[in-house]
Amino acid sequence: MMEKNKDLPTPHPFMANSAEASFNEMLKVAEVTDIDELFAQIPKDHIFKGDWNFDPQIPSEAALYKHLTRILRKNSSAEENLNFLGAGCWQHYVPAICDEMVTRTEFLTPVWGTPSSDHGRNQVWFEFQSQIGELVGMEFVGLPLYSFGTAGGHAIRMAARINRRSKVLVQSSIDPERLAVFKTYCGYPELDGYLEIVMVETDAKTGRINLDDLKAKISKDVSSLYFDNPNYLGVIESEAKEIAKIAHDAGAEVIIGVDPISLGVLPSPSEYGADIVVGTTQPLGVHMNAGGGVGGFIATRDDEKYAHEYPTLQVSLTGTSEPGEMAFGLTLFEQSSYGSREHGKDWTGNSVYLWTVANATYMSLLGPNGFAEIGKTILQRSHYAAKKIAEIPGISVTWPSGFFKEFVVNFDGTKKKVSEINKSLLSKKIFGGKDLSGDFPHLGQSALYCVTEIHTLEDLDSLVSALKEVTK
């Protein structure tokens, strides 16, 4: 029997070897008498000796659950309220089996296995890549990125590595949140690899890219043109083909950002000139999670020119030693930062791979008819809302047609600020649209409203009557 050790742990449910017998067995085999001897490498003056003044331990699950939920119930969610916020994170219905799959412990908790022991998960990844490829009309798709904005940022850098040009044209209607990420990715003029972002004006009448301004700004220095379709303000860039041609004629790469939930009714960006397609994965079966549901993707033609610039990892369908058997392996691993450190293509690491499970499940559930149907439902509901809102005195819809899911509502005629209106709506348990007055001052007191398949006729009529009331 060993003498009781001063460092004997207290049994805790997360630690098997916190049991006295296990701990002592390890001490014995490892020939350790005092735990501190295991830390002998660390100089004494590096070790913290003060008081921690730490919040007390809550080892009971029941007590912990109560502690956490008591705090979190102070939130008021988009489920308890009627939500019209979109702007980069969208409230769609998440099918129950998407949640079932992403909380399966086999998918949720591990890191990496071998191609054989991780076969199921690798197949999910391949099905994610394949179905995204079908939606956007591209043959080469990587594993996901942190977000829509980071996917766009990496795509811009891919284009610059391909053509060694240093200017990027971006539509001025872009999400300011996404643009801020692009700016980070484009670097500083003092350092290597800096890319200059030039904004292409939005036509005030149409809400679309101003073609004259694009023609004036395109040049042989332009590495890529980036635009979202539909754009951040909801408007469909119906001249996309012409826009892409203008960029291509100057030798620039065309990067198009999409919300894949629109692609059951809208054409794939590859059909109107995209070289690189990026987008969000959050609408495909992932909860908003206060912004923690975001994810992104990059897709291109299956062309070495693009494939060799991917920063991501990607799985490829291959075989095994058994004829006819499918397996999946990483392709182009050596060009990643894992393979080549600072000589790799940008960097990769943990991303949002778990969400591919939800995304693949979601895309399989919807199928071609589900995507077409949800697209139509969103089109009709959002246009109904826009039409009814525009009938309210003092309120107008800036671009009342040619949009998908989101639209700009202008309140200038009410002499009220969006912030005031949204406060009043909140008291009626409505989250009004995203206030655009700070980011797009030329749009006046405007808000970006988002209407999806979750909004019923009753919900939309409630919004309209609430808006009437609060703008009186």
């Binding site: 296990s22 992403v102 990496w112 054989s116 003092e190 991303s351 693949a360 559930l365």
Partner: protein, 518 residues
């Protein structure tokens, strides 16, 4: 000597087809809510609402399955994933228990159905957890502020590179300070993110004692130095005892010092980044702090810094008002802007806070002690297996929470590689081990990390399986080289993977290249 009875194991084999190969035309897995007739009457036909030339002409070529078929397919795929259902001692990743209660919490609408642009008045619960966790990490690190926007450890390293740019730019020195120093043993994300941010990289080589010398550092530090980015301890379990001096040398030259705390598990409650002198550090909430890994995220690289760097943090940050409520503040003129959209992977911040409160400071201490003890326990047994040697054998003394070993002798004797052994171990229901980051200093490396989760029986069983496989390598090397034999599929044929004519990252590419019709 093998201690346990080796159990029978075979992975589930469903021979599951691709979802794209399944189903029948017209079958439905999900129906969107029906548009009410009043809506349809008001706006008309949906497709007429699209501009000319912007209507999809070709139907999507996606699978058509019933809801149950989709559910069963993905359940089969989950079963065909070993996924820590065996024993995973995957080094550098600190495999932990991910408390299930956290899933119960974060899948409720008060987390899952929150929108990032909501009025902060309606987000007080989330902001409070973020704020509370920020304060816990301040205590553990001695630093002054933590943010959670970075979507993983590499993204936190990128955050540091961006902070370094903004800091030196604000002082008008960025053009001159364009070098970032790291070590050959630092995680690849440090040099990679610094290079992506525009810096030149200087990598210090390791000396015989397991880390670069102070002299080597002095030789490269100059008025061009922007920052130092290092891990300590490293993945071999070696702690650089000169790290305080390193930080002083870089600070004296005007550079910043970033502590990649990927290997925090073994030094929790002993080492605080600020006490060593670091300006900033990174913790991985999906590793050290009990968040799930999800096979590669959603993850969080918690980034903390001292007062000097707070003005450069990405917005929005969570702040406390005089009345005790919380609000979001955009970054000021020196802020790096955004590393990624929104506040970060909030569910994992909540999980990490929950885990840390469950553990308490005493639990963190116990976890660090158990992790380091378990590693030293493993070492005794592993080094008794013929063919296994310890990485950097000249470095004497105890290693911290992981040690890198070599199967080089076994390979020389038998031709069986570390990848063959990894494959064969999965035949016994044991998850793959981690080999080594690039570059490999050690031939045929493997890096087990026991952490505080796995029981002494699990650790013993893992070693018993390894020993069994090493014995097989000597008696029947073909068995190991052609493994796995009890897994979902056989040994992958990797010859196609780097051939542009043969690789296929999508089913449509595969069908074209291999002439398959659906």
């Amino acid at each position: 000597m093998i201690k346990s009875k080796i159990r029978k194991y075979h992975a589930p084999v469903w021979d599951e087809p691709l979802v794209m190969q399944m189903g029948q035309s017209g079958r439905r897995g999900s129906i969107a809510p029906k548009t009410e007739s009043k809506i349809a009457d008001t706006v008309g036909n949906a497709l007429d609402l699209l501009p000319a030339g912007m209507k999809r002409a070709n139907p999507l070529n996606l699978p058509e399955l019933s809801e149950f078929e989709v559910q069963r397919h993905y359940l089969h795929l989950s079963q065909q994933t070993l996924g820590m259902m065996g024993i995973s001692l995957f080094g550098t990743c600190t495999m932990k228990y991910n408390p299930r209660v956290n899933e119960r919490i974060v899948y409720q609408p008060f987390v899952a159905e929150m929108h990032p642009h909501q009025d902060p008045e309606t987000m007080q619960g989330i902001l409070e957890v973020v704020n509370r966790f920020d304060h816990l990490l301040r205590k553990l690190s001695g630093l002054d502020k933590f943010v959670f926007q970075a979507g993983g450890g590499a993204d936190a390293a990128y955050t540091q590179a961006c902070m370094t740019r903004a800091y030196h730019a604000s002082r008008g020195e960025l053009e001159q300070r364009n070098e970032i120093i790291t070590t050959a043993q630092a995680h690849p994300c440090n040099p990679a993110t610094a290079a992506a941010a525009g810096f030149k990289i200087i990598t210090l080589p390791l000396e015989d004692d397991g880390f670069p010398s102070v002299e080597a550092l002095k030789a490269v530090v100059s008025n061009r130095t922007a920052a130092l980015m290092v891990n300590n301890p490293d993945d071999i379990g070696i702690y650089n005892p000169h790290i305080k001096e390193w930080v002083k040398i870089v600070h004296d030259a005007g550079g910043l010092c970033f502590y990649d705390h990927a290997n925090f598990n073994g030094v929790m409650t002993r080492i605080r980044a600020a006490d060593i002198g670091f300006d900033a550090c990174m913790y991985m909430l999906h590793k050290t702090f009990g968040g799930p890994k999800g096979g590669g995220g959603p993850a969080v690289g918690a980034y903390g810094c001292n007062e000097k760097l707070i003005p450069f943090l990405a917005g929005p940050t969570v702040e406390t008002s005089a009345d005790g409520s919380f609000y979001l503040k955009e970054g000021g003129e020196h802020s790096v802007g955004r590393i990624r959209e929104f506040l970060g992977n909030i569910p994992t911040v909540i999980r990490a806070y929950s885990w840390t409160r469950s553990m308490g400071i005493e639990g963190l201490r116990d976890a660090a002690n158990i992790s380091v003890l378990a590693n030293n326990y493993m070492e005794k047994r592993l080094l008794e297996i013929p063919g296994i040697t310890k990485g950097m054998p000249d470095v004497k003394g105890r290693r911290l929470e992981m040690t890198r070993y070599s199967l080089g002798e076994l390979t020389a004797d038998t031709g069986v590689s570390c990848l063959d052994v990894q494959n064969r171990m999965t035949d016994y229901g044991v998850d793959a081990y981690w080999l080594s980051h690039e570059p490999w200093f050690i031939p045929e490396p493997f890096t087990p990390e026991a952490g505080e989760l796995w029981s002494v029986e699990d650790i013993d069983y893992w070693i018993d399986v390894l020993e069994t496989v090493c014995n097989e390598a000597r008696t029947n090397p073909e068995l190991v080289k052609t493994s796995p034999h009890n897994q979902v599929v056989h040994k992958q044929n990797s010859t196609n993977l780097s051939d542009p004519a043969k690789w296929a990252t999508t089913w449509r590419a595969y069908k074209r290249k291999y002439g398959v019709t659906n």
